[in-house]
Symmetry: C2
Subunit: 231 residues, 2 copies
Amino acid sequence: MSTAEKTEILPTDIATETRQAPKRVRRSAEEARRLILDAAEKRLATQGPEGIRLQDIARDVGISHPAILHHFESREGLVRALIARTSAQFRDKMLGALQDRNGHQLEAGELIESVFEALSDRGTARLLSWMMLTDRLTEATSSRALMTEISNAIHSRRVKEAEKNAAPTPDREDTMFMAMLTANAAFGDAIIGRHLAEEAGLDHDGIIRFRRWFAQLLAEHAEHHDHQRKD
Amino acid sequence: MSTAEKTEILPTDIATETRQAPKRVRRSAEEARRLILDAAEKRLATQGPEGIRLQDIARDVGISHPAILHHFESREGLVRALIARTSAQFRDKMLGALQDRNGHQLEAGELIESVFEALSDRGTARLLSWMMLTDRLTEATSSRALMTEISNAIHSRRVKEAEKNAAPTPDREDTMFMAMLTANAAFGDAIIGRHLAEEAGLDHDGIIRFRRWFAQLLAEHAEHHDHQRKD
DNA sequence: GTAGATATTGACAATCATGTCAGTATAACA
DNA sequence: TGTTATACTGACATGATTGTCAATATCTAC
């Protein structure tokens, strides 16, 4: 059985008798790119940046590694495409969180929760921070003015709320700082949160409590300014 | 001049006439290790993780790359040593910030500022986040219970403050959350802060304002709880 | 069916980084 | 001054990974 098939049989025999149908799978370019990106993303999430190796990813998908190069030009092209896709997904999640499915706007606490949630996915956090570490901001054009956009949306709510309470109009920068703090904190949480929580002896509930606590902190801050006060 | 020295002269001649003293630099093991770590740190800061290549670092120091292997066993050994050193430095900075040079304790705002400051150094932030991204927490034993330690120090101050004001004793978890938030925010700031600030159109002063704003936010929160209130 | 486009492959090339080794130079010490 | 320990080097081995190329299989359109 060992050598029979390949050494004994002549080319003609191969063509006529022995040769089983090659059954090569052929996907659409789009489908192939998707599968490759999925595999790359998973590798990045589980093994970190060095886990993105063409051979390994090819094996995961069940193709040969030149196929990846065919679809993405180079390894760098693959990385760029992965960053672009993840950034876009993240952006969609964030913008989606601004309005729930009924078109209602989420309240601040839920919004904060969704920021943490979107980043807590291991792959996303790792990809974004890797992107920062390697100076690849360029390809993330899709999330360019994301924070400003969100900040503006929140600010207009605050202004309304303040008007309703006959309170002084909140400072735009104050809102921007709230957004920045949330972004920073969620990002930091995604990377060292687990470590810090473990060190502090916090279980899963503790982590949830922390997020609630943070949302509450910001809520109190906003209330303090946007509701009328005697001073 | 081109070939004269090396091709025409026989070994004996080399030994007697032409040979200039080899003047090989020989440092103490400690000194050599320090120089190598310095170079590696600089590479990491400017070029990211992939910048740590034995040949490049060797060239920076002015030695051959096997010399690095001689001192650190392997590339991985170098990375571990670098992580260990940076973690230890970070820890020292943090613990030092708890008490200024007069033995006085820094107040909260200054403490927060120093956390951000310590991490804003590009090398430190990059190294620590790279450490997280690649699951190398192990070698950072020196900063094991750092946050807990700091949190405890701050908490004891809060308790005193509350006693002084005849306010209810603050919750230990509340203080822990303040510490966690600060750590998360400083960490996130170190990685995406520059990007966010740019997007928001903040200049350097704006960044400083943000940190002050954050310190103020926490201060207000603590005051709100630790000073006696009518409710 | 035939033809053209292209997704896919195996084999190979080229580069590059880590690590090994035997030998050399230098400092410390007797 | 001679001996020893070891920091250091050049040349080479090794292995891994990206990238190239010609050939092949499969799909779509005519």
